[in-house]
């Protein structure tokens, strides 16, 4: 799902993370404020051009990570075709794809440590007020790391289900998924503790 930082080194990898996130924020907000269909088609074309610029490997990885929105594109278009509001459907779909593509683009070109460093800078005022912000810097990469792990595990559980039953798996997968996540949390907690605690030597409780 989330393509983590692309191994294809682009020029954008070295740009400051704050700048890229700021640009993403402006572009996302701009897309919501502009109603024109042509503008949205142009925006998507521009984003795809950005994907193509660093070469075919980067483009393939980028398009691959966009595949997750494909079902939603189909559903949204079908829904709007049924209700007869195709223009609105196209607009929403184009915007959705462009937004995800842009967000993926920032993710693909921003090393995780840059993002964590940015959070550290942004939370500096809180730290000066005496709040422990080290926990946040630990937690953010953990979520980014474990989301694909949990998704993969849910898919494995679904496969195991399908091998045994002809019914859809559905919500029954969530209990084993939750139990495994709780076990992971125990292991990660112990690992953090073994490595000197989440808050480092100065902030441990």
């Amino acid at each position: 799902m989330i393509s983590l930082t692309s191994p294809v080194e682009t020029r954008a990898h070295r740009w400051p993370a704050g700048l890229k996130l700021g640009a993403l924020c402006l572009a996302s907000t701009g897309l919501f404020l502009v109603p024109g269909l042509a503008v949205h088609a142009g925006a998507l074309a521009a984003v795809l051009a950005l994907y193509a610029a660093p070469g075919p490997v980067f483009l393939r990885a980028g398009l691959g990570s966009l595949r997750v929105v494909l079902p939603f594109v189909v559903i949204l278009l079908a829904w709007h075709a049924l209700t007869g509001d195709m223009r609105q459907g196209l607009l929403i779909t184009l915007r959705m794809v462009t937004l995800v593509a842009l967000a993926n683009l920032v993710t693909m070109t921003t090393p995780l440590e840059d993002l964590v460093a940015l959070i550290r800078r942004l939370t500096a005022p809180l730290r000066r007020m005496g709040l422990p912000t080290g926990a946040l810097e630990i937690a953010v990469p953990l979520v980014i790391r474990f989301t694909p792990v949990l998704v993969l595990r849910a898919e494995t559980l679904a496969e195991a289900w399908r091998a045994r039953s002809r019914r859809r798996p559905g919500w029954r997968l969530i209990l084993p998924l939750t139990l495994q996540a709780l076990d992971d949390a125990d292991h990660v907690g112990e690992a953090l503790r073994a490595r000197g605690g989440a808050l480092g030597p100065s902030g441990s409780e």
Binding site: I2, A103, I138, L150, W171, L177, V188, G189, R193, G197
Partner: protein
């Protein structure tokens, strides 16, 4: 401390994963993602403060531009969309769910969690969601509520599932439910 951080992070990842895995969508013709089920679970399992922290952490990552919201949405655009009220309401909903299970002491952990999910994940979340929709669309609160109310049956189903999952958790892993353990201990000392 470290375990709390890990649990908060893992439940934030659960909220994300439940919105992304197509196999877990609850079918009724229109697929209903299980993302808010993750929010209800976070509140019902971790309690008010840690549940809200998990949902807040999830939102932070969405704001950072990761497409973790159901449907692969993410980025700051989410916070100006018609569903912004729902997204911003996630931590509040998890907090309210946790508050309910911590303060309304019921013998059955599953019943407490199910009712808590109805309170936090439906009542509180829909008020915030409708308010957000009213602000973005310029419509009245009642109209906005009428528009989002079609999703309430699906969310009632999710609240029921939250209850069943927590009931099962209380049976197989009772030590994870701090609020339930406290309630059970309280019941024992009263006896």
């Amino acid at each position: 401390m470290e375990r709390n951080i890990a649990q908060i992070a893992l439940f934030a990842a659960m909220i994300a994963a439940l919105g992304l895995v197509p196999q877990i969508t609850l079918g009724f013709g229109v697929p209903i993602t299980a993302q808010t089920l993750g929010v209800m679970l976070a509140g019902a399992v971790l309690g008010a403060r840690r549940g809200a922290a998990a949902a807040g952490l999830f939102l932070l990552l969405v704001a950072l531009g990761l497409p973790l919201l159901a449907g692969g949405r993410g980025g700051l655009g989410v916070f100006v969309s018609p569903t912004a009220g729902f997204a911003l309401g996630f931590p509040v909903a998890a907090f309210a769910t946790g508050l309910f299970v911590e303060h309304v002491r019921l013998r059955s952990a599953g019943l407490a969690a199910g009712l808590g999910a109805v309170f936090g994940g439906i009542l509180v979340l829909y008020v915030l969601g409708a308010a957000g929709l009213a602000v973005v669309s310029g419509k009245g609160l009642a109209e906005a509520f009428g528009l989002v109310a079609v999703f309430i049956p699906g969310d009632l189903l999710k609240a029921a599932i939250t209850g069943m999952l927590v009931q099962a958790l209380a049976r197989v892993r009772p030590q994870t439910l701090a609020w339930h353990r406290a309630a059970a201990d309280g019941a024992q000392t009263r006896l």
